[in-house]
Every structure is written in C-alpha cells, then in structure tokens.
Subunit: 368 residues, 2 copies
Amino acid sequence: MRTLQVDLGERSYPIHIGEGLLAQPELIVPYIAGRQVAIVTNETVAPLYLGRLTQTLAGYGVTPIVLPDGEAYKNWETLQRIFDSLLAERHDRRTTIIALGGGVIGDMAGFAAACYQRGVDFLQVPTTLLSQVDSSVGGKTGINHPLGKNMVGAFYQPKAVIIDTSTLSTLPARELSAGLAEVIKYGLICDEPFLGWLEDNMSALRALDSAVLTEAIERSCAAKARVVGVDERESGLRAILNLGHTFGHAIETHQGYGVWLHGEAVAAGTVMALEMSARLGWISVEERNRGIRLLQRAGLPVVPPVGMTPDDFLEHMAVDKKVLDGRLRLVLVRRLGDAVVTSDFPQEILQATLSADYRTLVAKLGDE
Amino acid sequence: MRTLQVDLGERSYPIHIGEGLLAQPELIVPYIAGRQVAIVTNETVAPLYLGRLTQTLAGYGVTPIVLPDGEAYKNWETLQRIFDSLLAERHDRRTTIIALGGGVIGDMAGFAAACYQRGVDFLQVPTTLLSQVDSSVGGKTGINHPLGKNMVGAFYQPKAVIIDTSTLSTLPARELSAGLAEVIKYGLICDEPFLGWLEDNMSALRALDSAVLTEAIERSCAAKARVVGVDERESGLRAILNLGHTFGHAIETHQGYGVWLHGEAVAAGTVMALEMSARLGWISVEERNRGIRLLQRAGLPVVPPVGMTPDDFLEHMAVDKKVLDGRLRLVLVRRLGDAVVTSDFPQEILQATLSADYRTLVAKLGDE
C-alpha cells in the first residue's frame, strides 16, 4: 500500500492506494467517529462492492443508499434521496457518509455530507479510474444545474481517500479510457516526464497491469495533492487542473449530461486547448500532435461532437466558473508540462479554435 | 451608528447597527468585490425596501430575486429559483448575494451563497427583529426538509451584517414579538441583568422606541457574537443559543412550517425548557414564572399547541441536530443567565415536562 498526504492544515487527510483495501477494516474504521455510517453508491457498483464494504464495517449501523447510475442523475432530485434516507434512519451529526463509486457518487455524497445538518464526516472510496486519479481528491463536491455543470456545490474535504485498485478489474473499457484523460492531463499541465512514461506504458495501463496502474494513480494523486495543497479553493493555481474542462463542460452540457462521459468530453476539450495553445504560438504543432496521439492511444475521442457550433460553445462557456467580471478565462499550455490560466488572448484565436476542422486535423495525424 | 465585530480569524466581520443604513452606499459598497450583485428578498419586503437598496447600489449590475414570503417556502424549490436567476443573469464567482429580509431570506440567501459555484460573497441586511438579533449573525444557513427544520445547510459567514433599525417601523406586531423571543433568550442563557432591563423596557420595545430597540439589538448581537466567536461550528458552547429550540422546532415541524412563527415556537419551547429546569430543581418555580411572564409581556404564546402529544414531541425531537449517537441533548437553564447543553437528565423528567398542563400552569400565573 502507498500513502500520500493532502496538506491542508487541520483539514489534511491521507490517500491510501493499494489492492484489496475495501476489505481492510483497520484502514477504514479509524476514520469513523460515531456508530452510524451511510454508504452512498449506485446500482452498478452496489452488486459488486457494497457487500464487501458493509462486511468490513461490521459492528456499525450501516445505511446503504443506492442511487441510479450516471451523470444525468447528478442533480437535486437524487441528492434529496440521500437526505431522505439519512433522516428516515435518523443519522445524527456524528454520522459518516462513505462515497463508494465513481465521480458522480463522490461529488454527490460529498455535497450531501457538506450540507447534512450543516456538515458531517465523509470518506471517499472511489471505484473508477477517473475518481481515483482526480475527483475523489481535493474536496470539490456538487451537483449539476440544467444551465451549467457543477454550478451548485461546496469545497468540502473528506477525512480520507481509500483507493482499492482491485475495483478497476470490473471497470468497463470506456470508463477506463475516460479516467486516462485526467491522467494524461497531469502530464500536460505539470509533469512533462510523465507524458513519456505514459507513452511507454499506455498498452499496459489499458491491459490493467496492476503495478503500472498503481504508479499512474499515485503519480496523478501526488500532482493533484500538490496543487490542492497550494490553492484549496481555486483562487489561482488550482484552476490549471481544469485543462480541457471549459470546452469539455460545454460539450457535456450541450449533449445532455451523461451522453459523453466526463473524461471523454475532457479529452476532446484538451485537444481544443492544445490547438488554441498552438495557434497562440506557445507550443509547436508537433507538441500539440503528441498530446492528441496520447489521448487517441488511450481510446478517447479527440474531436468535438458533430454539429456543435462555435456559438454553442460560447453560450455554455459564458457560465463557466472561471469567468470573472464577464471575462472568460481558459487553461492553456505554455509548454508541455506547464499550464496557465489566462484571459489574455485575442478573441479571433478563440474563434478560430472553436471553428477549426478537427476531423481533418486528426485524419492528417494518422497519415504522418 | 454602533459597530460590533464577530471575531472568527480570517472570517471575521462587522455588524453595523443604526437608522437609515440601507441608504448609505459608503457602508455597503466596501463589501462588494465585483460588479454584480443579487438582492434576494421576498414579496412583502420588496415593495418596502428593494428600491431603496437598489438605488444605494447604483453603478452595479443588480439582479433582484423576489421569493414568496414565509417559512413554508424555505425549501429546495425556492432555493432553486435563486440559482436559476443567478445562472440566467450569468453571475460569476465574484458576485455578491445580499439577503434583504427576515430569517427565512437570510438562511436561504446565505445557503445559496455557500453553494453557488461552490461559494460566493454575501451580506446580511436583516429587516425583522428576529433576524437582526439572531439569525443574521453567526453564519448558520440552510433550508428545511419535510422531516426536520434546517436539516440541509452550511456554516457560511457573511462579509458584513447591516442592520437598519428603521425597517422595524413596518414590521407587523406579531413579527416584533417573535423577535423578542430571541432577545429574551439571551437574558436567560447568558445575561441575567438583561432580563431586568427587558422587564423595565418591554413596553418601550413594543412601542418601537428607537433608542431602546437599538440597545436591545446591540446587546443581543454582542451576546451572539461572543458565543459564535468561541464556537463557530457548534461543537460545544454555541448550542446554548438553541434554548427552547428543540421543543420549538418540534412544534414548527408538527404544525407545518409557517403556521407558528419561529419566534412563537421558540417562546413556547422556552417555557418547556424552563419547566424542565424547574422540575430538575435547577431553578425555582418563581424564576420559571419570571421567564414565562416576560415572554407573555412580549406578546408571545407560552403554551404548546393544543393536541400536540408527548409522542409527537419525541418523534420530531429524535431528529434534532443536537442528538448524538442516539442521545437527545437539551439546552436547559442551570440558573437564570446560565444555560447548559445536557443529555444528563432522567427520562421521567422529560416525559413529565412534555405531559405538563401548561394551560393550567399559565392560568395560575395570572392569579398570583
């Protein structure tokens, strides 16, 4: 087992990474203050891992809360079901909420924990690659609004993140790829050598090689913990973690939540951010192509949805959380391994980026 | 104008109290970071004070959000209307939400500020006595759940509290009395001499004597600021501010939100807490009666609703936020001016308190 630490003063917490951790009470029990536990999970994950975790928590009063699966359910109605169950089972302020599932479950269970009786403890037990390398770490919680993704939420840190890598054995290939989008992101924004490592190990990752997966998860979590430790509430640096997300959120909102997986939208959005960085002259076309090829090799879409116009993008991007005083800010790559958040770009470059013919661009890539 | 300070480290903020503050830009503008402002108010307050505050904010992009009036609307559906408006008008993270109204508006606007884009600035501009002396100070925000009051919310501090005492001139007498329940509470829990002052000045308060009201508000806010400064998140001392509230919340939930005003339910609940304290031998029957008489003179109900049984109370009290590991904790009065939070009482005394014949008890009071 590897253990990292997220350093946030009195809100610091550990990330434990290893095989079979779900079945180890000595790892989980120390983070539970009271006698009540609610495990929030979904219909897909429950048959696989709810029993195992419940067994690990023998001796506690456990309330299972099984939600429908998917981004389309990351809304108030589903959140309300968590509160209904907690109140029906009379969970008090000393209860602990455990998020057992992917990013949607983690975001909703975390937000429920932030709000229930004005805040109770929670643990992240992520079971998808995306949640293990990204969303379970750093305390961003929330739900979607019909007009924008993650528009209602809280910064609320878990007491611990328990990553059982053996849960990846049941993860569909499409979801594994979605997680790799965020893994590749860390290379692009802050760890250029990691890009080389990923190029060398992409096949092993997709083949679920346990040692290679663990290393990718650890390296990703370490990068995230570093950034969050510097800027918990995204007043500056933390925004670089959103490379590809402004374009990506526009895609998700436009297509309808859940049609594209979050990681898939981020992948296409990352291609757009690389294209814009190249058009600004910050990275070369070769470097842009290197990023795109890696995303392709991870099994990810690298072109925006057919029929989504520049105006569609601009409309959804106008409510992005990085907009300040009416100015859109974007995460762009100054060079591979070095991202910046900036509103300092000519509008024409953004327009050209939104209008670019990504299909042709990617087709050419194959010819090289 | 008087100014108090709530000391909470980097979350410290001032409370300004005085006549006509709503019309003073120099008092309000310094707390607004961006160019956008949303004023959350209700249908009753809007015709009276929304225009004045909007005028004070000339030069800012102001979005008025006018909600229906009353505790019955302190729920998710109404909260969602705030998010809808903020997103439709494209408010970004630098926006400021101003709560203009009573406790319900302050709780909802504050919770919306806590959650919108994971947290934006907000100001409290309370216009009822209850919100001026209690709910606008201390950062408790939230909404009700059908199964329990304030069950979903956040601790989230405002940037400032602006108390314009001239707004009380339009406050209905019933609402003024409801506010006095919380004023009297401070005397009972931590300021015995204040009880004497209130006995001397009750008529002047109900006649809206400006100087006397200002003193009552200042003294109440000072008490609240002191307690909150010691225990922001209610891990201990702060719970004493809930004298009468566990019984009172049960009354509100049982009767249906909004049938009894919050302050009315707290008044009847305070009588029950005094009765229980007397039954425990902590205060004399004379002291109990002194408290009840003061609540009566404030124009408040001092007996629980007809037909509400001990079991009704116990059912609603079981989900009180002060319950820990299944044990009910109550705020009781060890002596006048000294409240404690305790689960250390014989169950029979609680049962006797819930079964007591308050009508007869109060009728006898009149005969003395």
